[in-house]
Symmetry: C2
């Protein structure tokens, strides 16, 4: 039976312990010394903070199956490295001047340096991912490869939507699913594969096939992660209008001023034509759109969608093979993300 | 003894057979269908031809140890995919208008598309590399990861040299070694690991350590590949001045007009100050520099360096573990590259 194996809920790591592991791990990463200037923008990008949500998910998932999660640390850092690589190149493509309150790499250095250091960063992510235990390396790297393509596909859709007039809400959801949500799901899967290795990875060596429930967990974690990611991204859309300016990292109404095709805008558009904002100040335009989003029901639809994806995530966890107390941290993270205002 | 195992020289594949395998393999590559437009620039880049030298080296090296080289095909295509990814991003950074006689991706599409498709392409290369047999996957991927960083480091040096006045000849050699030569060496190593797998990869399963001579071969192949690569790159410098305009793919004198710091220029500069070319036509400037390179001995030094690296490559092959007739194809390729005029 499952509960005779793996981690006891009482021996599982706390969020603060996982955060400490990740920060320490990032600090002690060693970079090649040849052409050292290539790696300065990479250090700069990783030093700029962030929630470290994705590597935390890797470690939590590993911890579901194994008390010792040391083997998952390098791949977890690989996930964070990859995430930051996508931000670096996205900022080049968006010509974004700042990120987390500091000049972006292509501004602080130059565009060519941002492209090249980003390319090297994608490679460093693979180096860390390849530190997964040999027996699960293939599973881990296949998952990571798949995710890499999914995220590029999401970014492709995002780019194409800029110049398209007929983007549907379903298409928008698929875009954010690929661009931002699958990363959470794949991070959990990678952690789970690594956690399962020590406990169950040697099954084939003794002639036993991988238990079906291990693969079911892998699928369930992906569903949990992507649903959570979708709720998270839609909340971002909502906070852009109704977030607290004091705590929301970005300017309130930024999406409106940039005419971004968000869930709110696409939903409102499906119900009523856009209001005219000719001659309006920026603040007036933002207020006009916020009223438009409320009147058309888009604001309510957005809150509903967030709640639904959140619920879907929690429902998924019930299908996991382990006793529910072990899933405490995942629920804690989900609750934190739901309550966030930045 | 070695010659009781592996491939007999008479059963080894011919160059034409390897080329056919590679072209067929490239043609039958399947790309994701989601966001299919992301993959058009990748197909376009791979369709533009080229010598396919690097994947050929993967297959030749595998064939040294095993008659069946099917397991090496996907990783060989991964090497070609990676090589073309570097060309794609290099062209963005160089703002190059054409490549192999066709518009570059950032011209035919746009810069953002070139960056993003390049990122996806780096990922596709890893997908193909990860098709290496499980038992040698870690060796193969570690080699590939190392190479990926080396090539980024070479490109970093190349970028930095543009704005530096005091580049030494040693630094130039190290730059081209990293930027272009290690790829040949690593391609051979990856092929060798895969070829060795079927024949010798199960040694640890039966409690026997990997034979030392297998690792010695791996080192020797790297030396052969990088030496060949250096000869190849220096020949490129030489052909830029004295190549046959009818067969040399690029404009004769291009490096001179772009003031590129080539082996010829750096060697000449070390011996005599640059000639004044004020008011000269492009053709006059090219002729002036060709005389400068001859008078300063740079032209002769270049030919000597090419011959030396070529010799170093052939010498290295003598240290290989197998009977010399098996190395025929590698010698054939070396001879072809030496005689090339384009």
């Amino acid at each position: 039976m499952w509960f005779n194996k793996g981690t006891s809920p009482n021996n599982m790591k706390k969020l603060s312990e996982l955060s400490a592991m990740i920060e320490e791990g990032l600090q002690s990463l060693s970079y090649p010394t040849t052409a050292a200037t290539l790696y300065n923008p990479i250090r700069y990008t990783l030093d700029s903070g962030g929630k470290r949500l994705r590597p935390t998910l890797v470690l939590i998932a590993a911890n579901l199956y194994n008390e010792d999660i040391q083997a998952a640390l390098k791949p977890a850092l690989g996930i964070e490295m990859y995430h930051n690589f996508t931000l670096l190149h996205d900022d080049v493509m968006d010509k974004a001047p700042t990120r987390r309150g500091r000049p972006t790499v292509h501004v602080k250095w130059n565009e060519n340096q941002a492209i090249l250091s980003g390319d090297a960063m994608e490679g460093l992510a693979y180096q860390l991912i390849a530190e997964a235990p040999p027996r699960v390396l293939k599973n881990v790297i296949d998952t990571f490869n798949l995710m890499n393509q999914e995220i590029c596909q999401g970014q492709q859709f995002d780019m194409e939507f800029e110049t398209r007039d007929n983007v549907t809400i379903d298409e928008y959801i698929e875009m954010i699913r690929l661009k931002t949500s699958v990363l959470l799901g794949r991070a959990l899967q990678i952690g789970a594969y690594i956690g399962q290795d020590k406990q169950y990875g040697n099954l084939s060596d003794i002639g036993v096939n991988r238990y079906e429930w291990l693969d079911r967990d892998i699928e369930t974690l992906f569903l949990f992660g992507t649903s959570l990611g979708l709720a998270f991204q839609l909340q971002d859309d909502w906070l852009d209008c109704w977030g607290d300016p004091k705590t929301f990292g970005k300017r309130i109404g930024g999406d409106i001023l940039e005419n971004k095709k968000t869930f709110l805008r696409l939903t409102a558009l499906a119900n009523a034509p856009e209001p005219s904002t000719e001659g309006m100040s920026e603040q007036q335009k933002i207020e006009t759109y916020k009223i438009y989003y409320k009147k058309t029901g888009a604001e309510k639809a957005c809150r509903l969608a967030i709640a639904n994806y959140h619920q879907e995530a929690l429902q998924a966890l019930k299908k996991m093979s382990m006793p529910q107390p072990k899933l405490r941290l995942l629920k804690e993270i989900a609750a934190k993300l739901e309550k966030r205002n930045k």
